[in-house]
């Protein structure tokens, strides 16, 4: 096929249909993002669990997990990303707020200010100390995953209402001189 007759690259989806292909088509990215997915998710849980004493926590962990999903979105497209984690991210975020908020309530039942922490006396091997702040952090974690991923999905799947004018390749001198 002649170079000038190549179909336009994947940046002109038809009006009002959401994009469902990769944002950036690259073999390297696809390979790496497959490898990175479990690593990033593990790292996010690690961050979540160490957060109440050391740098980390629900927010950072949530951002890491969301970035794992967004990486899939960039490499494979939003449809694939949705298939990997088939949840309603908005409801996930709302559930996170609910879950985080209720773990402040035990303190109120005990007659202490909201969010005062209760801890298990002994740390659990491999997980660390457990208490209501960890549960609260899990709520934050879910909220951050939900909100961040939802925003990314909305941006990616947004129909392009005002497509840029078609990119006309500038005339190139080719070998056969056409």
């Amino acid at each position: 096929m002649h170079r000038n007759e190549l179909p336009p690259p994947n940046r002109l989806p038809s009006r009002s249909t959401p994009r469902d292909s990769a944002l950036y088509d690259s073999l390297i990215l696809r390979t790496v993002s497959r490898l990175m997915m479990p690593l990033l998710l593990l790292l996010s849980i690690y961050m979540l669990l160490r957060g109440h004493n050391l740098p980390g926590g629900g927010f950072i962990g949530g951002l890491l997990a969301a970035s794992a999903i967004i990486l899939q979105m960039v490499a494979f497209g939003p449809k694939t990303a949705r298939r990997i984690l088939p949840v309603n991210y908005l409801l996930l975020a709302a559930f996170g707020v609910f879950f985080g908020a209720i773990w402040g309530l035990p303190a109120m039942v005990a007659g202490l200010p909201y969010m005062q922490a209760f801890w298990l006396p002994e740390p659990i091997p491999g997980v660390g100390k457990l208490g209501t702040p960890v549960l609260f952090d899990i709520g934050v974690y879910l909220t951050v995953i939900g909100v961040t991923t939802k925003i990314a999905l909305l941006l990616v799947e947004e129909p392009i209402l005002f497509p840029l004018p078609a990119m006309k390749p500038s005339p190139v001198e080719t070998e056969d001189g056409v």
């Binding site: 409801l91 402040g104 007659g111 200010p113």
Partner: protein
């Protein structure tokens, strides 16, 4: 230490999350919203019954003691505002049941209302300057959502102005917050108040007070900073405009009262005359702007600005009595203004337009609606025996007793202009003969009439039984203006500085 002081914050937060989760079941979402607001209302009423006797109630979030943690402080002013916010939100939710379309309900209308209530309650409760900023952001985010929900061209245009100008105010607030922290080294309001009294650097304090005056002034829509309000408030559904008119600018007024009553009381002597000048200009320009309008909600929007002038006048008088009078007036205007928005909105819904020229003759078709409107405008103008009379009378009394004759005269004169401009709506919408056959208009549903009517009846009751309200606000004004009581309540009898030094050792 009162551990359950967090209820007005927790309830809308958990309620909002649940309302999102159950958004598909419309009735469940509505019930959740209603129950959350009722809990807040009950708790607010309880606070109001307790606080005048006990003095400010304090709670420290997760047990971190002041001045290191975030304190929640409820004095008379906060309790009144928490209660009013819940009451007005209750009427809004009931009005929304009958007026909000299903599409908006599907797109998280009730969760946004609860988020707004969360931000407003948090702003009224907090005793920490930066935390106040956070609550302002929460309520602004909710209001951004509410004002553009639906996404019509008008709404987006109004919403853009609203967002941009409010972000300007927020930026000034954040900058002011940072500068106060840099100057005083603390963000706990009680601690700041203590250090402002001891740190001798009057010039810097004046500048800080000026920045916060700009920030909260733009939220409260006082004169040079009010442009966002009339250009955006008439675009969203009536229920949203009404709750905005009741809460948004009043949070700004509350923040002004709190910062100048507590943090910068020394500066109030410097700024008092200037605040009075701004208050007078706000009254006059607001009401004159209203005279030029020909749309129900635009007229009412300009009146919000005009009434803010009265609330700010209470601050400018720079005394406990002035704050008390301002609080009485603010409480009155929150109630009456929302009632007028509800009733005007119902009329707008009947005609399908808010254009005065296309309306008319509603008094014959809906005499009850017309009656409540008329009572509402009498109250707003300050005719006895309605609540507006009490509110204005006390303000004018304090004004005269402090020899602020000019602002008192302006305030009295503005009342007449207010009445005149409200009569314009009365004439055009209710009295003048309609061009079309009035009998063909749809009847107003009970649900659109009831919230406005209930608020007007409340205004009448507050006017007839003004004693408790005035007494309550006299105490609230004193508490808001007495720094020592606040500091003692938050940090103990020795003050925050002693706690701070003891903790450092």
């Amino acid at each position: 230490m009162v551990f359950h002081l967090f209820i007005p914050i927790i309830t809308p937060m958990i309620g909002g999350a649940l309302a999102v989760l159950f958004n598909q079941q419309r009735l469940v979402a509505r019930a959740i919203a209603l129950i959350s607001v009722l809990i807040n209302l009950g708790y607010g009423l309880w606070l109001m019954s307790v606080v005048p006797a006990t003095g400010p109630l304090v709670a420290q979030a997760s047990g971190w003691f002041a001045p290191f943690g975030i304190s929640l402080v409820v004095d008379g002013m906060s309790a009144l505002m928490v209660m009013l916010a819940a009451l007005l939100m209750l009427t809004t939710i009931i009005y929304s049941f009958y007026s909000i379309d299903e599409q908006r309900e599907d797109h998280f209308y009730y969760p946004l209302l609860l988020l707004l209530l969360l931000g407003v309650s948090g702003a009224f409760l907090t005793g920490d300057l930066f935390n106040l900023y956070v609550w302002f952001e929460v309520l602004l985010v909710a209001s951004f959502g509410l004002i553009t929900l639906g996404g019509s061209r008008d709404q987006l245009e109004g919403g853009l102005k609203y967002v941009v100008l409010n972000l300007l105010g927020s930026t000034a607030f954040l900058a002011g917050c940072g500068l106060v922290y840099g100057f005083a080294g603390t963000l706990n309001m009680a601690h700041i108040a203590e250090r402002m009294a001891t740190l001798a650097n009057p010039g810097l304090q004046t500048v800080l007070a000026g920045i916060l005056l700009f920030a909260f002034g733009s939220k409260a829509a006082i004169v040079p900073l009010f442009f966002w309000l009339p250009s955006s408030y008439h675009t969203p559904p009536v229920a949203v405009t009404a709750i905005f008119s009741g809460l948004m600018t009043k949070v700004g007024v509350y923040a002004l009262y709190r910062t100048f009553g507590l943090l910068f009381q020394n500066e109030l002597a410097t700024y008092g005359p200037w605040i009075l000048l701004l208050a007078g200009l706000t009254m006059v320009i607001g009401v004159l702007g209203a005279v030029a309008q020909m749309n129900v909600r635009r007229i009412l929007s300009f009146h919000i600005i005009s009434q803010i002038g009265y609330s700010v006048m209470g601050l400018g008088l720079a005394s406990a009595a002035g704050l008390a009078a301002g609080l009485v007036f603010t409480a009155h205007v929150m109630i009456v203004k929302m009632a007028l928005f509800f009733i005007g909105g119902a009329a707008e819904q009947i005609y399908g337009t808010g254009d005065l020229k296309k309306m008319g003759g509603l008094a014959r078709r809906e005499p009850l609606l017309a009656l409540f409107w008329f009572l509402g405008i009498l109250s707003l103008a300050g005719i006895p025996p309605l609540s507006g009379f009490i509110g204005k009378l006390i303000l004018l009394q304090v004004g005269v007793s402090q020899q602020a004759y000019l602002i008192t005269a302006v305030a009295a004169g503005t009342s007449i202009l207010t009445f005149f401009s409200m009569l314009k709506i009365w004439n055009e919408v209710f009295w003048k003969k309609s061009y079309d056959d009035v009998n063909r208009l749809p009847r107003v549903p009970f649900g659109l009439l009831a919230p406005g009517a209930a608020l007007v009846i409340l205004s009448v009751a507050l006017g007839l039984l003004a004693g408790p309200l005035v007494d309550y606000n006299a105490i609230a004004g004193q508490q808001a203006f007495d720094r020592n009581v606040y500091i003692t309540a938050v940090c103990g009898a020795d003050g925050c500085e002693a706690v701070y030094r003891a903790a450092l050792k």
